[in-house]
Each structure stands twice: as structure tokens, then as C-alpha cells.
């Protein structure tokens, strides 16, 4: 019964979305306040109905309702409760429902918190947002209905893909979707502004918080996915340039570009049409990402439940929204003339450089991801484009970006001098050179990657610190440091985070150590200064799997550090083995142990990795997200949001 109610709520939400797509748009065109105001309750209703449908599906998973086809295919009564809940979106239909739920959530948020927006713009934004929801409601109802019943329900389900039975599933997709779909707000604002024919500083200020929020979620989502791959896939890789990873990375790059160009719109009323274009493209790439995952055109580890027919539907959605928006853009963009005047060397031009590098690097990733398909279709060559290509073609952009960032971030608006910016960064540069030389001396004879990455990382991070310090005035004043706007802190923290991540990736790649061996029980062996002993191997039964668990004693200089328990699991229902690495997480390095097979002579294969600075990769990502959050909480957004309600009285001077 709940499933039918959920199904019904979903259809109702679809109908509400259709109305919300049409009525406010006409209202805004004719300036009819009643028709425009209709968008707000509709957005709320849409969100509540979709939320109800999602809850109904989750209830079916929690209670293991095996009369639902989706539950049978993706769940099992013995599965732990956490995975029953997160299993709701661990499959195609459920994840699309989560997707559309988030579309309606953002629409509702715009309705609730958009009090400061002009009524016509608000009506148009909500109508465009609703159009996106309509497309995905139709997609779910007509091709991927999660509420289909089975005439003859089986006694039990077929279980969830074991790789997905991990706490990672509870958090990675929701964050990623919040990011993907959050970009739909930027898209809606861009299209609404094109219809409106007006883009000004205020528009830049309205669109920036949404983009920031989407970017924060995307950053966390990607970092979580990368960390999940690190501990789950069994050899400690953290980024594979897999098509689906690229699908999330491309919108991230464009969202980062959009964040920066929206600043120029907000502060200087320039780069308007470019910012609009970026907003359209960023969401376009989110849709391309969905298309890549769902169509199965590009093979990847994420290919659960994909099928070509659905791919065609999503391709249609993609073509309609990006095609339509770009046509509108072509017709209207020239109306957005720039106002600000600035020199060749200025903060504006530095941000243009930032945008060029981010957008072109996104293009490179896109080209590489699509190339195997293009080559097969047009040149009759079946080939692969893997990590070595992306490492070679993408990394240079990040190197230039890292080199330019500290200088660009201290250039003044309008007109600056490169020499002065460089001089203000002398301490950052000196520190970076010193650390690099130290590293170089310590690791003679090994690849240059480590020192180069260390240089960039230290340069970017210390550059961000110098930038923050220079904001406190000529003399430097500690008290003033804490009274700086949150946006300044956000900038410094996010940029430092980027530096930390660059440093960590280079360090991990350059200084990782690996050991593969057959070891006898109780026989110690040495890896990179650590002593490891496989004490015993047990066979245990988990809730829905059988495990072979090793017990490895980790020692350094005769002092016990940890007992690691690497595991191999076998899921009998899903008929799939997985490896669960055991990791001793420390600040400076991880020790990563994987248990292999039993050998004929009684020994066991054990794989050990020493991974320096591994945690720093994700710590850097979290810093970037935190920086974004600090920026988001900046006073000017809060004030702008409530501006209409409190026109007088003002804000006390701080």
C-alpha cells in the first residue's frame, strides 16, 4: 500500500511540476502577480510530494518488501540496516528518485530563501527549475519506475552489489547529487536572466551562493568517492580517471570556474555573458555525467543497471536543456555588455586566466573521456584512453594554475603591477624553494615529481596565508585578522586546501612503497622501516558474507603500533568476492595491508603499502569545502538575502 501511495505522490509531483513550469513563466511575462506567486507553494508541494515518494521507497527497502521488483533485485533480508537504507539509492531507479528529490529540494529552497529576489526573476527561476524536474519525473515514471510490483514475490532478494555495501554508499551519492543538482540552480538563474535580459552585480550576488553550495557538495562528494575507492578497491588507488569519475570532475572544474567568474560579475560587472555560458555548461556537464553513468556507452566500474534506452532518454533531456539554453544564449548574450574597465594586469585578468585554465582542462578531460567512442564511430579504431593520457594532458594545467594562483590572488582590482604582487609573495616563494631543496636533497636519484609537487603545494598554501595576512594592512595586525570578512577567510582556507591536496598527491605518488610477498604465519617481515607479522588467519561469518580475516601485528623499532585485520569476503547471495584492506591511518603516512590467497606451502600472500601523506589528499579537499562554507556564510550574502524584508534599520557597523 505504501508503495502505491508513493507512486501516486510521484505522479502528483509530476503534475505539480508541469503546472509550475508553465504558470509562473506566463505570469512573469504578463506581470500578473498572482500567477507568479503561484510558483512558491507549488515548489514546496513538489518537494513534499517527492519526499513522500522517496520515503515510501525507503520504507519498502527497510521492511524488505519483496513484492517490489526493485527491492528484490537490490536487497536481501539479511543485509545490515544501514545498507537497507542506503540501498534505496544504490540502484538506478532509486538514485534517479534521489536526484529528482534534490532538484525539488533546491527549487523549494529558492522559494523559501529567495525573498530578496525581484518577483519576475524568482518566478522564472522556479519555472526553469521545475522544467528540469518535469524532465526527470517523466524519465522516472516512463522508463525507470521504482514502484513496479511483482505478481509472484520471491522469498528473498538478490542482495546489493557487495562493493556498494559500505558506509561510503550512505554519503558519497547524496553529496555528489547535491552538487550535480545544485548546479541546476545556477542553470535556472542563467536561463531566467537570459529570458529577463538583465544581468547585473545583484544577479552575480544571487547566483554565487547556489554555485558555492553546489561546489562544496561536489567537492565533498568527490573526496568521499575517492576515499572509498582508496580503502575498498584493494590497492589504494585514489583516482582512476574512470569515465564516471571524470563525469563528476568536469562539473567540479566548471563550477570552480563559475565561482570565480561570478565574483567578477558581482564586483566589476564584467564577464557577464561568459558567466552565463559557464552556468549553462556546468549543469550541462552534470547532465552529461548522468548520461555517461546511465547509458553504459562508456564502460566503467560504476555501471550498475544501465541500459541504452534510458541513455537515449537522458540524451534527449541533455539536448533539450543545453541546446535550448545555448540557443537562448546565442540570441540574448550580446545584450549583456560589460561595464567595468580594467588593465591587462589586474585581479580581473587573473580571474580570466583562472577561467581559461579550468575551462580548457575540463575540455581536455571531456575530450579524453569521449575519444574512445569518437574513434570507434568515425575512425574505426577501438582504443583506450586511460590514466597515463590524463596524467600527461591534464597535469600541466594544474601546474600553471598553481604557479599563477598566489600572484593572481593578491593583484588589486582594476589595475595592478605584477612586480609588486611578486614582491609581496617573496616569503611564500622563499619558503617553497627552501622546502623543495630540502626534499630534493633527501630523496636524491628519484623522480622529480615529488619535489615539483612539494614546491607547488607549499607555494600555493603559503601564498594563501600571505594573501590573508596582507589583508590586515601594511603593518599586519593580529586583531584585525579575525575581523576580516568571512569571504577573505574562505578564500585563504580554500586555496590552502588546494595546495595541501596538490602536495599530498605528488608526495603519495612519488614516495609510495610497496611490498608483495608470501609470508608464513608468525614470521616477521620488513617494509619501509616497519615490521609486520601475520599472526593468524581465521574464517568468520558476517551477517551476509563469509570472511577470511588475517591478524597482522604492526611494529616499529620493536614497539607495537597496531593490529591490522585485513579481510577477504565472499558474498554467497551476490556471488562476489571483495577484499577489505586494513589501514593504519596516521598523519604522516598510512600503512595499508591486503590479504591475498593461501599458498600451497601454507603461507599467505600479503601486500603491504606505505602511503605517505595519503590523508592529506582528503584533508585538502575538506579544507576547500570548508573554505567554500566560510565564503557562503559571508555577511554580504546573508544581508542580501534578507534585504527586502528589512529595508530600514540597517546593519550595525562592525
Amino acid at each position: 500500500m505504501t508503495a502505491e501511495l508513493g507512486h501516486f505522490a510521484l505522479i502528483l509531483a509530476f503534475l505539480v511540476a508541469v503546472v509550475q513550469m508553465v504558470v509562473p513563466l506566463i505570469g512573469a511575462h504578463r506581470r500578473w502577480p498572482g500567477w507568479m506567486a503561484m510558483a512558491e507553494p507549488a515548489a514546496t508541494a513538489q518537494f513534499l510530494l517527492t519526499g513522500f515518494a522517496f520515503g515510501a521507497l525507503m520504507w519498502a527497502f527497510i521492511t524488505s518488501d519483496f513484492s517490489l521488483r526493485l527491492v528484490v533485485l537490490n536487497s536481501h533480508s539479511a543485509k545490515p540496516m544501514l545498507y537497507k537504507i542506503s540501498g534505496t539509492w544504490g540502484n538506478h531507479e532509486g538514485s534517479m528518485l534521489l536526484w529528482v528529490l534534490i532538484v525539488t529540494l533546491f527549487g523549494a529552497m529558492a522559494a523559501w530563501f529567495g525573498a530578496g529576489l525581484p518577483p519576475t526573476l524568482k518566478a522564472r527561476v522556479l519555472a526553469v527549475q521545475s522544467a528540469i524536474a518535469v524532465a526527470f519525473f517523466a524519465f522516472i515514471l516512463f522508463t525507470s519506475n521504482p514502484f513496479i510490483r511483482l505478481a509472484v514475490p520471491p522469498f528473498d532478494g538478490q542482495d546489493l552489489n557487495p562493493l556498494l555495501q559500505d558506509p561510503g554508499l550512505a554519503f558519497h551519492p547524496p553529496f555528489l547529487y547535491l552538487g550535480y543538482v545544485g548546479l541546476s540552480m545556477a542553470f535556472s538563474f542563467a536561463v531566467a536572466a537570459l529570458i529577463e535580459g538583465r544581468v547585473d552585480a545583484a544577479w552575480g550576488r544571487w547566483v554565487r551562493p547556489w554555485t558555492l553550495a553546489a561546489w562544496i557538495f561536489l567537492t565533498i562528494g568527490i573526496a568521499l568517492g575517492s576515499w572509498w575507492a582508496y580503502y575498498e578497491l584493494g590497492w589504494g588507488g585514489f583516482w582512476f580517471w574512470d569515465p564516471v569519475e571524470n563525469a563528476s570532475f568536469m562539473p567540479w572544474l566548471l563550477a570552480a570556474a563559475l565561482l570565480h567568474s561570478a565574483i567578477v560579475v558581482e564586483k566589476r560587472e564584467a564577464l557577464k555573458s561568459w558567466t552565463i555560458l559557464l552556468a549553462i555548461l556546468a549543469f550541462g556537464f552534470s547532465l552529461i555525467g548522468t548520461f555517461i553513468v546511465r547509458s553504459g556507452l562508456l564502460t566503467s566500474v560504476h555501471a550498475f543497471a544501465n541500459d541504452p534506452e534510458r541513455g537515449v532518454f537522458i540524451l534527449g533531456i541533455l539536448a533539450f536543456f543545453t541546446g535550448g539554453a545555448l540557443t537562448l544564449y546565442a540570441a540574448r548574450a550580446q545584450a549583456m555588455e560589460a561595464k567595468g574597465v580594467f588593465g591587462m594586469v589586474s585581479r580581473e585578468s587573473a580571474l580570466v586566466l583562472n577561467n581559461i585554465l579550468l575551462a580548457v582542462s575540463c575540455f581536455v578531460v571531456f575530450f579524453g573521456t569521449m575519444w574512445p567512442m569518437v574513434a570507434e564511430m568515425f575512425f574505426d579504431r577501438k582504443l583506450s584512453v586511460g590514466a597515463p593520457f590524463f596524467n600527461a594532458a591534464f597535469t600541466p594545467f594544474m601546474v600553471v594554475l598553481g604557479l599563477a594562483l598566489p600572484l593572481g590572488s593578491v593583484l588589486p582590482w582594476k589595475r595592478g603591477k605584477l612586480g609588486r604582487a611578486a614582491w609581496s609573495m617573496r616569503y611564500a616563494f622563499g619558503l617553497a624553494v627552501a622546502v623543495t631543496l630540502l626534499v630534493w636533497a633527501m630523496q636524491t636519484g628519484r623522480s622529480a615529481l615529488g619535489p615539483v609537487g612539494v614546491f607547488l603545494g607549499v607555494w600555493v598554501t603559503s601564498g594563501a596565508m600571505v594573501d590573508l595576512w596582507s589583508r590586515t594592512g601594511r603593518k599586519g595586525n593580529l586583531g584585525r585578522l579575525f575581523r576580516l570578512p568571512r569571504a577573505d577567510w574562505g578564500k585563504a582556507v580554500a586555496h590552502s586546501g588546494l595546495g595541501v591536496t596538490i602536495f599530498a598527491i605528488a608526495g603519495l605518488t612519488a614516495w609510495e612503497q610497496e611490498d608483495i610477498r608470501v609470508t608464513q604465519l608468525g614470521e616477521p617481515f620488513e617494509v619501509g622501516g616497519f615490521t609486520l607479522t601475520l599472526d593468524k588467519v581465521e574464517r568468520l561469518a558476517g551477517p551476509n558474507y563469509f570472511a577470511t580475516t588475517g591478524s597482522v601485528r604492526l611494529e616499529r623499532d620493536g614497539r607495537a603500533i597496531a593490529t591490522l585485520r585485513p579481510e577477504k569476503r565472499d558474498y554467497p547471495v551476490a556471488r562476489m568476492p571483495t577484499t577489505e584492506a586494513a589501514i593504519d591511518y596516521r598523519i604522516m603516512r598510512d600503512v595499508y595491508v591486503v590479504l591475498g590467497d593461501e599458498q600451497a606451502n601454507g603461507g599467505w600472500t600479503v601486500r603491504t603499502y606505505i602511503k605517505p601523506f595519503a590523508n592529506w589528499i582528503w584533508a585538502g579537499c575538506l579544507m576547500m569545502a570548508l573554505g567554500g562554507a566560510l565564503s557562503l556564510s559571508d555577511r554580504r550574502f546573508r544581508v542580501a538575502a534578507g534585504a527586502r524584508r528589512a529595508p530600514t534599520g540597517g546593519v550595525p557597523a562592525e
Partner: protein
């Protein structure tokens, strides 16, 4: 050579028995560390044909293991890195290369980034030059509607 043959037979037995295997196995590792390092580097650039976007160095599949052994066999036989790659590509096609070649149509793939960067840099340069020489906008450029509204406000 017999040692290798023996090892190869042992591997064959393993494959026939269809035991689950995982990435590089201790018994695959070559005694000569230099050769082994070259083998690892080569393996990282070769695709596991039955996997999704994994190199044979990372893959757990039986076929990947066969390819790893093949690479090592060629190296022990004295092939250069390029000869090993050519040998593998000959048998399995260029699909095994994770780093695409730069011949024929693939030139487009490798050149796309630099060309795009050049175009973007030129566009950016001309935009900036235009902005630098643009006349400063007159701040008081109000529309007729805004002027009307301003008058109303001032009259109040």
C-alpha cells in the same frame, strides 16, 4: 629457461583450476629487480581486457595475470620496452594501450588541449585588451523609467 617454463606450467595449472587471483602475485615477481621494475611500469600502461578501466598491474582477473606473465617473459627474453609493447599490441590490438598512440586520428586527441588553450588564451587576450581600452561608463546612465522613479522618490 626451464625455470620459466616450470613457472609457466604452474601458472597454467592455476588458471585451469580457476583459483581466484589478485593483482601482482609473489610468484610472478622476477628475480632481477631492474627487469621487474620495467615490467611493473609496462604493466601500468596496459589495459586488462576483461576489466573496466583497470591496468593489468591492478587487476585481479586471470587474463590480466596471463598478460603480466607474457610481459615478463618477453623482458626476460631480452626485448626492449617498445618491443614488448609492440608484441602485445600485435596480439590484442591498440585497445590494450591505456596511453593512446599519437599517430593518425589520435593526433587530434593529443593536440586538442594545446589548440583549445591557444584559442582560449587569444580570446582572453583580445577581451582583456578591449576592456583595458574601453571608455569608462558614465555612472549616471539611468533609464527613463529609473529617472522617473528617482523623481518620484525625491518629490516625496
Amino acid at each position: 629457461m626451464t625455470g620459466l617454463l616450470k613457472r609457466f606450467m604452474a601458472v597454467l595449472m592455476l588458471v585451469l583450476l580457476a583459483l581466484p587471483v589478485a593483482a601482482v602475485q609473489p610468484d610472478e615477481v622476477l628475480d632481477d629487480p631492474l627487469l621487474e621494475e620495467r615490467a611493473r611500469d609496462l604493466s601500468k600502461g596496459l589495459r586488462c581486457l576483461v576489466c573496466r578501466n583497470e591496468s593489468i598491474d591492478e587487476s585481479n582477473a586471470g587474463l590480466a595475470r596471463d598478460l603480466r606473465l607474457l610481459v615478463r617473459e618477453r623482458l626476460v627474453a631480452g626485448d626492449s620496452d617498445d618491443e614488448v609493447i609492440a608484441f602485445v599490441v600485435d596480439r590484442y590490438g591498440e585497445y590494450v594501450l591505456l596511453r593512446p598512440t599519437s599517430d593518425g586520428a589520435n593526433m587530434l586527441l593529443w593536440a586538442a588541449g594545446p589548440i583549445m588553450l591557444l584559442l582560449a588564451a587569444l580570446t582572453g587576450f583580445f577581451y582583456l585588451r578591449k576592456r583595458a581600452s574601453a571608455p569608462a561608463p558614465t555612472e549616471a546612465a539611468l533609464t527613463e523609467e529609473e529617472r522617473q522613479r528617482l523623481r518620484e522618490l525625491l518629490d516625496e
